[in-house]
């Protein structure tokens, strides 16, 4: 049970980072991104492939964050001038094309076999206590990113982002280089998602393309909307509630044993869809709405 809880909380931490990343883009700045999983994958694969190739983690991890942020900046430069409904389609498509790339370019990504035996940091040091160590590592990363983003939110930079979210024409009239701010916010969010991917890859020691299906981006959205977009506490709470939704069905198996594995998974995803639609239509501000003027 302890082992299970440790594993679960570690994965909540990874999801929380993803949600915090999307909160920078959508929650703070109002930028649509339906492809959060793409930057998660870029971080995971970059770091995993470098580490497997013998590069030290001290270099591989920053490289993963940097490449995820760069991918975010590149997509933002091309697509952020589009209307938001078009942007939704483009970001979704980007993530799907990236997954196809991971699947097909085996010379670089090892294709459908995935990357195996990804080194785990300080594994030899901790031995049997390794899962506990990794949990603390992930929680420390979440704490650090949360604190940094909270400071950012209250900073002049964060205020400009919110101004852009509310009315970018006004922000532009006030002399702010709106497009540059948008690209920076998008890249920052992508970098945070990349960090989540890195922690994920080195935790499982294995990644493969089908871990990065479009529905993962949907889960990130659900977590953000559940918690309440625009505030970082909401992003954390949402990740926790999402976990309850996703993991609760594991226990449902004991209660309703006549459901097959496929049916249980389908029922769980139906629930995710229903919650998403209900939240969008009835409680768009989430469980912890952003407080106006919360500086």
């Amino acid at each position: 049970m302890i082992a299970y809880l440790t594993a679960i909380v570690t994965l909540v931490g990874v999801r929380a980072l993803l949600t915090l990343g999307l909160n920078v883009q959508w929650g703070m700045t109002g930028l649509v991104n339906l492809g959060a999983v793409a930057f998660f994958a870029v971080g995971a694969y970059t770091s995993a492939l470098l580490a497997v190739g013998g590069v030290s983690l001290v270099l591989a991890w920053p490289a993963g964050v940097a490449l995820a942020a760069a991918a975010g900046a590149a997509l933002a430069l091309v697509a952020l001038r589009l209307r938001e409904d078009y942007l939704a389609i483009v970001t979704l498509g980007f993530a799907e094309v990236l997954r196809l790339f991971l699947l097909n370019e085996a010379w670089l990504t090892r294709g459908a076999n995935g990357v195996t035996a990804i080194p785990r940091p300080l594994h030899a040091w901790f031995g049997g206590h390794y899962p506990a160590f990794y949990l603390l590592l992930v929680l420390a990363a979440v704490g650090l990113v949360y604190t940094a983003l909270e400071r950012l939110r209250r900073s002049p930079f964060g205020r400009v982002l919110r101004a852009i979210r509310e009315d970018e024409v006004v922000a532009a009239v006030a002399g702010k280089p709106v497009f540059r701010f948008k690209v920076q916010a998008f890249a920052l969010g992508a970098g945070v998602a990349g960090l989540a991917g890195i922690l994920f890859a080195h935790y499982l020691a294995y990644v493969e393309p089908n871990m990065f299906l479009p529905q993962e981006s949907l889960y990130v959205w659900l977590a953000l909307i559940l918690g309440g977009s625009g505030n970082n506490r909401g992003a954390l709470l949402g990740s926790l509630v999402l976990l309850g939704l996703l993991e609760g069905s594991r226990f449902a198996k004991d209660v309703i044993p006549f459901l097959s594995g496929v049916r249980l998974a389908a029922a769980q995803q139906m629930l995710v869809g229903v919650v998403l639609v209900t939240m969008m239509s009835r409680r768009p501000d989430g469980l912890l709405p952003e407080r106006p003027g919360s500086e």
């Binding site: 649509v32 339906l34 091309v78 697509a79 589009l82 938001e84 409904d85 078009y86 939704a88 389609i89 483009v90 979704l92 498509g93 980007f94 799907e96 094309v97 196809l100 790339f101 699947l103 097909n104 529905q215 949907l218 959205w221 909307i225 097959s260 496929v262 049916r263 998974a265 389908a266 029922a267 995803q269 139906m270 995710v272 869809g273 229903v274 919650v275 998403l276 639609v277 969008m280 239509s281 768009p284």
Partner: protein
Amino acid sequence: MPPIAQYVFNGIVTGGILALPAVAFSLLWRLLRFPNFAVSTYLTVGAYAALVLNAGVHVPLELAWLGALAATGAVALAVDRIAFRPMRDRRPFSLAIASIGVAFVLENVVRFVWGNDFRAYDVPVSRAASVAGLRVGREQLLILGAAVVLMALSQAFLRRTRLGVAMRATADNPLLAAVKGVPTDRVIAVATFGGGALAGGAGVFVGLDASIDPLMGGGLIISVFAAAILGGIGSAPGALAGAMIVGIVEEAGTLVVPPTYKTAIGFVIILAVLLMRPTGLAGSRS
């Protein structure tokens, strides 16, 4: 290696199938002002509705196809009532996200009932005929013929009937149309039902041409979007032309890139159109 003409022919058939959901997606986007991500899942709904009638109750596929049109139209209408109507006045992006949730629910209802297995209709196996050196399947001709008839009917509806004209008026300017006495709610209901029916009918074609599984519709989402955006949002003839181009380019593209990259071809088309000519082929105001 088959000649390039074979790829073009297959592309035309694919385009004929794509045209139906593309027209539905395009007109509904223009009318309701949000991209409905559930439209491609309506293909899956239609395919399974026909499967129930055909393989379950042993109705001939032609009749099962008509049943699928009605059933999918009804599902689309129910979805609109439950999910989208309470959100009519919200920003388009909120509705787009809700529509993704809807697609997710529908896909998993199908998975819950029928599982992940690939299925096929109960139809006699027919051998492909050879026409002018091309391999032409009986089903392919059937699909193409039915798609042409459906497209012609929808175009006639939009151009010649009072309700069709009212629909185009509402799409162009909802406020003006409402002031002029157009029954907006009825127009939306008819468009939703019709759009669902078109997509559902296309789903049966996909099931006939390839196979039936819960992801069959969702997997075409990028191609459908590409066709609609290439054609110009809100234009039915544009969506038809866009679907033909996307179908042919995707099929012929497999000569250059591996077939697994079909979706990437659609994505490149979307990006290229949005960056160079966002109004699409039809070129109307956006």
